[in-house]
Amino acid sequence: MSVKDYTARNGKELVLEIKGQFDFSLHKPFRQAYRGHSGVEVYRVDLAQAEYMDSSALGMLLLLREHASGQGAKVVLCNCQEEVEKILRIANFQKLFQIERNGVEARGDS
């Protein structure tokens, strides 16, 4: 379980890589990873290595979204595994976030 953050595109994109279980234990490092960056336009949460996600992860993503929208930035969730994407869909997160699967935008109605 870890959060690794790095900037891309001259600091305009901040990538947050989630590894292992995306649960409450990550609430502190996750917030720390996105706080204190200025001039970021896109927060990209890379979930390629996230095996599991509980409701606290959804809460954290919502708080990130609020933080980003306060800066006029957007949040992209990318490379979700199937189970994780199901959780995102059941919470209707596809209406709140741009969800990309393997770099391609995946839009669903359900």
Partner: protein, 410 residues
């Protein structure tokens, strides 16, 4: 027939040889052929009778030509008449059997057709009911109305709505919890700042204590003049000790608050961490259930459609069968025609027998006898022509009925 006529024309008067050779056997042949045509069973006796007639005719004629004694001629005539009577008797017996059989066939066909008609009626009623039932099923399953009818759709929709609300609730609670925990983290950080400040204050108190101690020592060295200052220095030292105690108490309180915040943080964290997999499974289950219900609905509708098609096809077959049952009419007409044919033949033979017996009674011989037989033949030929034209008319009517072939339940 023309041969027989020619034979009788060339026969010498008084002898009657041509009559015996050609006339009588000709009549017998015609009668036998008629019998065989109407009733094939009679073919064998007919052939036999014909052969005997021709043989006897030839012998009688030979006898006449040889101008044998009148006694032997009379004997031959007697024998011939006897033979014709026997033929008449056996043919009449055959005709009775044929008539009985035809009557039985007529009855059997009529009964069987009646029963078949009833069966087909029953079948038609059955297929109509089946068709209506299938139609009802189709109407009920049309669209998704039966899902609505049993409230399944609204139940599924309600359940889906409840699940969605639950998920929304959990997500929003988690968001608030995480936010609260973030605030608590901030409080903990601030508590750490307070603790740091308290450490600084503790240092100040210790330094004050040290300064007060130095002041007391300096006051003691000054003697009487420093006595008052010694009291002040002692008071300052007491105050610094008190400040130190307060500092420790505050540190203790801050530590307890920190512990409480940590506890609350854990509780809120537990609240925030809900496993959504069960909800996910429930939602998948509901979706599956709906899909299967729709499939079932479609299958029932398709099956009902097939039943309807089958019922329609059975109906068509029954209609064709009922149409075919009109053969009864035609068979009856044919049987009737055969009967009248047999009856006509019977009359023909009776007429022949009558002529023979009359000639025997009146003991006519020679030219009278020939004329009498020629007259009888002419009348019988007229009767036969009349019968044949009636039969041809009947056949024509039967054929026309068959061609029309209307669906008619009789």
């Amino acid at each position: 027939m023309t041969d027989a006529k020619a034979g009788s024309d060339t026969a010498r008067p008084g002898t009657g040889g041509g009559l015996w050779r050609y006339g009588v056997p000709g009549v017998v042949t015609a009668a036998a052929a008629g019998g065989a045509f109407v009733w094939p069973v009679a073919a064998v006796p007919a052939v036999l009778v014909t052969a005997v007639a021709w043989l006897l005719g030839a012998r009688l004629a030979d006898g006449g030509q040889a101008e044998a004694e009148g006694e032997s001629l009379e004997e031959l005539e007697r024998e011939l008449r006897g033979l014709l009577h026997d033929i008449d008797d056996s043919l009449q017996a055959e005709f009775r059997t044929v008539l009985d059989d035809l009557g039985q066939i007529r009855g059997l066909v009529s009964d069987a057709v009646g029963q078949l008609n009833d069966s087909f009626h029953g079948m038609q009623a059955g297929t109509r009911e089946q068709e209506e039932l299938a139609n009802n099923v189709i109407t009920q399953t049309g669209g998704d109305s039966n899902l609505d009818q049993f409230g399944i759709r609204s139940f599924v929709q309600e359940t889906e709505g409840i699940l969605n609300n639950y998920v929304d609730l959990v997500v929003s609670m988690s968001r608030n919890s995480v936010e609260t925990v973030h605030a608590m983290d901030d409080i903990a950080t601030q508590m750490d700042g307070i603790s740091q400040l308290l450490v600084n204050m503790k240092g100040i108190a210790e330094q004050t204590d040290l300064l007060a101690l130095n002041a007391s020592i300096e006051a003691a060295r000054a003697g009487d003049s420093g006595r008052g200052f010694s009291v002040v220095a002692e008071e300052v030292r007491n105050l610094s000790v008190q400040a130190g105690e307060f500092n420790e108490k505050i540190g203790g309180e801050v530590g307890r608050v920190r512990t409480s915040v940590d506890k609350a943080r854990k509780a809120v964290g537990d609240m925030a961490s809900q496993d959504l997999n069960e909800t996910l499974q429930a939602k998948d289950h509901i979706t599956d259930m709906m899909t299967r219900l729709r499939q079932l609905d479609d299958e029932v509708e398709q099956a009902a459609g097939r039943i309807q098609q089958v019922a329609e096809s059975i109906d068509g077959h029954v209609g064709a069968a009922v149409r075919s049952l009109q053969f009864e009419d035609i068979v009856t007409q044919l049987v009737d025609s055969s009967r009248s044919g047999v009856e006509g033949l019977d009359r023909y033979l009776s007429g022949l027998g009558h002529v023979l017996s009359e000639t025997a009674d009146q003991a006519e011989h020679g030219a009278d006898y020939v004329a009498r037989l020629a007259e009888a033949r002419r009348r019988l030929a007229e009767q036969r022509d009349a019968r044949e034209s009636r039969r041809a008319e009947a056949r024509h009517v039967a054929q026309r009925n068959m061609d029309e072939g209307d669906v008619e339940l009789f």
